[in-house]
């Protein structure tokens, strides 16, 4: 173990720079959101991930955000274990009827101010599972959604850029720009 630790000390980190430009896969309910988060929370964001019926593909890529290449925590973004500690619910999957109540209760357990980010093509619009007896549909059918990050699944880069867009320093300035989505 010592040898490995020593090697890691003398080699450069795997962590990569991230462009803060807005990725093409975002659908924001309103640019005002950005300003609101920046004003209230600065650059710190506590995220509670909720799988409301996904195939687990989105979970794999959300997991990847914590690896050394993306290292999401360097931006002040961290995943928390309880909705009580969360600012943002990151919701994946077409919401299934069997998960609907659990999702609503998780939202209710999250203290305000709170935001909902729907992740993946299923969270955005039910994806390939549309018109099933077992699915309610997009996350927006159950909760007020503030931001959508599309993809099947979205890549960690898309996810990271989407989350950074939420907490960007320039948010307040951008919020007044009517040309933004």
């Amino acid at each position: 173990m010592r040898r490995r630790l020593f090697k890691n000390l003398v080699t450069s980190p795997s962590t990569e720079p991230v462009s803060e430009k807005e990725p093409a896969v975002l659908d924001a309910a309103g640019a005002a959101l950005r300003g609101a988060i920046a004003r209230r929370l600065g650059r710190s964001l506590a995220i509670r991930e909720v799988d409301s019926g996904s195939c687990n593909g989105c979970e794999l890529e959300i997991h990847a955000l914590s690896n050394a290449f993306y290292d999401v925590e360097r931006f002040g973004i961290r995943f928390v274990a309880s909705p009580r500690h969360a600012d943002v619910l990151l919701v994946t999957g077409p919401v299934t009827h069997n998960m609907r109540e659990a999702l609503e209760r998780t939202y209710a357990a999250t203290p305000a101010p709170k935001w909902v980010v729907a992740v993946g093509d299923c969270g955005a619009g039910c994806g390939v599972f549309a018109n099933s007896y077992a699915c309610v549909g997009a996350v927006s059918k159950v909760l007020p959604v503030d931001l959508v990050i599309r993809g099947c699944p979205p890549t960690p880069t898309d996810l990271l850029q989407g989350l950074l867009w939420l907490i960007s320093d320039s948010a307040a300035r951008v919020a007044t720009d009517a040309s933004r989505p």
């Binding site: 173990m1 490995r4 630790l5 795997s14 991930e49 909720v50 799988d51 409301s52 019926g53 996904s54 195939c55 687990n56 593909g57 989105c58 979970e59 794999l60 890529e61 959300i62 997991h63 990847a64 914590s66 690896n67 050394a68 290449f69 995943f79 274990a81 309880s82 909705p83 999957g93 077409p94 299934t96 009827h97 069997n98 998960m99 609907r100 109540e101 659990a102 999702l103 998780t106 994806g127 390939v128 599972f129 018109n131 099933s132 007896y133 077992a134 699915c135 099947c152 699944p153 890549t155």
Partner: protein
């Protein structure tokens, strides 16, 4: 055993690949008894419009066969779970989806149906019946016992499911799982889809096994249609399957160690996993290789850049991974947590036909690539690894050894990869409905796919069975007598799919 059991029965002509026979009540009972005596393994049990099918494997001869029983006029089917406990949840699911009465089923509680859908028996399109009674968890009574309900929303970034622990102090007396939260009605959605549309759904049954599912589904379709994809496609499918296995095993090894609070291993494995996924993106255009396998072949050709990327990844992993194995082996605090924890006995692994690393860590010598080899494993064979301890440590070791076997295999396969086209369109429909069943080894174990295709090349019935169906019940057994704090460790060492199971 299979031959003797089905000696008087003619295989159904429309079912291609291994035979399917139509059993009467007597033969069905014979199947139940053979399962009880351990002479056969149950690899699947699923409903249809007016029948229930099962897939059987005979370990002694490595034969496979499917058998079906017609549903009686009153919607009744004799239960196999009476003889063979692993059939229980499958029969509960059949009862939920088709509304059949599984006569004699010891546990008649609903399984996938939580009483939240607008329809009852969705695959049979029956009118809503009476509201089912409130779900009753199994009792565990005694002084000083307490219950810990967990989920469906868990603390980590994982899928939803409910665990009901009954504990005496720190020791788990009983764990009962309640699943079905991610049920998306996939089998209903599959009905009527074209074979290509259905492939996209099959690839999204369990995202971590998207290659294995697409592979199994494509093989079932091609078996039914007696269609042979070009040789290069067959090889590329297996290259993807081995990359998927390596990526998932790396993720699991790191996550298991992380659940024993050894985060260094997690960080190191996550780097190797990310490098593997990036290589997949270079080689096949998608990090998880979703939708890369379709009926008729594969969608990616694998250019020389991708070919080289896979080879240099293999070389890189060969260099890096042994150091991590050494780290795992020589960290006493980690070994203290994994060795002897969450034991699955050889007997239970055999009874439940435990798939993948869970079975192979508990002495069950089954790997589809070895026991029922499909192309290209029939030409380029895979080595099977095995352990007998059945604990978390053994399941970690199986994964470590399998990564190395997969690297060996990848290097050999890439050296002998045939040239030529990678896809042939499937355009000729059959004259009558045809059926096919396929078994493919995913990272977690064998994935079973059954399809029945009509003359219009649309799906009449498709069933996809995740290995987790037979692993989830073993997790309940493995945790018994362990401390509550070891549950995440045991759970991760199984890494069952919720979505694949709930479908």
């Amino acid at each position: 055993m299979l031959k003797a059991l089905f000696a008087d029965l003619l295989p159904v002509a429309s079912h291609r690949g291994w035979p399917r026979v139509e059993a009467d009540a007597g033969v069905w009972r014979g199947i139940g008894e053979a399962l009880r005596e351990g002479k056969l393994d149950l690899l699947g049990l699923w409903g249809d419009e007016a029948a229930v099918h099962c897939a059987l494997y005979e370990p002694a001869t490595r034969d496979m066969s499917s058998a079906s029983i017609k549903v009686s006029a009153g919607g009744k089917v004799p239960s196999l779970a009476v003889f063979h406990a692993p059939a229980s949840r499958l029969e509960r699911a059949i009862a939920d989806l088709f509304g059949f009465e599984m006569v004699g089923l010891p546990d008649p509680r609903p399984w996938l149906d939580h009483g939240r859908w607008a329809v009852r028996s969705p695959l049979a399109e029956r009118a809503p019946g009476p509201e089912p009674p409130r779900y009753a968890f199994l009792a565990a009574e005694g002084p000083s016992l307490h219950q810990i309900p967990v989920g469906p929303v868990h603390a980590g970034i994982i899928e939803p499911g409910h665990f009901r622990f009954t504990a005496s102090g720190e020791t788990v007396v009983r764990l009962e799982e309640r699943l079905g939260y991610t049920h998306k009605g996939v089998e209903k959605l599959l009905c009527g889809k074209t074979i290509d549309e259905a492939a996209r759904l099959a690839a999204r049954v369990s995202g971590d096994s998207t290659v294995a599912y697409a592979f199994a589904y494509a093989r079932a379709v091609e078996t039914a249609l007696e269609f042979c994809p070009p040789p290069r496609a067959l090889w590329l499918r297996a290259v993807m399957a081995e990359l998927e296995r390596i990526a998932n095993h790396l993720g699991d090894i790191g996550a298991i160690c992380n659940d024993a609070a050894f985060s260094m291993m997690h960080a190191e494995c996550a780097i190797l996993r990310e490098e593997t996924l990036r290589t997949c993106a270079v080689a096949f255009g998608h990090r998880l290789m979703m939708d890369c396998i379709v009926p008729g072949g594969v969608t990616a050709h694998l250019a020389s850049a991708g070919h080289d990327a896979i080879l240099s990844l293999a070389q890189h992993l060969r260099q890096q991974f042994p150091e991590l194995i050494e780290l795992y082996e020589n960290t006493a605090s980690l070994q203290d947590r994994t060795v002897g924890t969450g034991v699955v006995t050889t007997m239970l692994a055999a009874q439940f036909a435990a798939a993948g690393y869970v079975g192979r860590a508990s002495g069950r010598a089954f790997d589809t690539r070895v026991c029922r080899p499909y192309p290209p494993y029939d030409v380029e064979p895979m080595d099977m690894v095995g352990r007998n301890e059945g604990d978390v440590d053994a399941r970690v070791w199986i994964r470590m050894l399998e990564i190395q076997r997969s690297l060996d295999w990848l290097e050999a396969a890439l050296a002998s990869l045939p040239n030529g086209p990678t896809h042939l369109p499937v355009i000729a429909g059959p004259t009558v409905s045809v059926e096919g069943t396929a078994l493919v080894e995913g990272f977690r174990g064998d994935v079973l796919a059954y399809v029945r295709i009509g003359p219009d090349l649309c799906i009449e019935r498709c069933h996809l069975r995740d290995p987790s169906w037979f692993l989830w019940p073993l997790l309940e057994a493995a945790i018994e007598g362990n401390i509550v704090a070891d549950f995440p460790l045991c759970n991760k060492s199984f890494n069952c799919s919720y979505s694949g199971h709930d479908l």
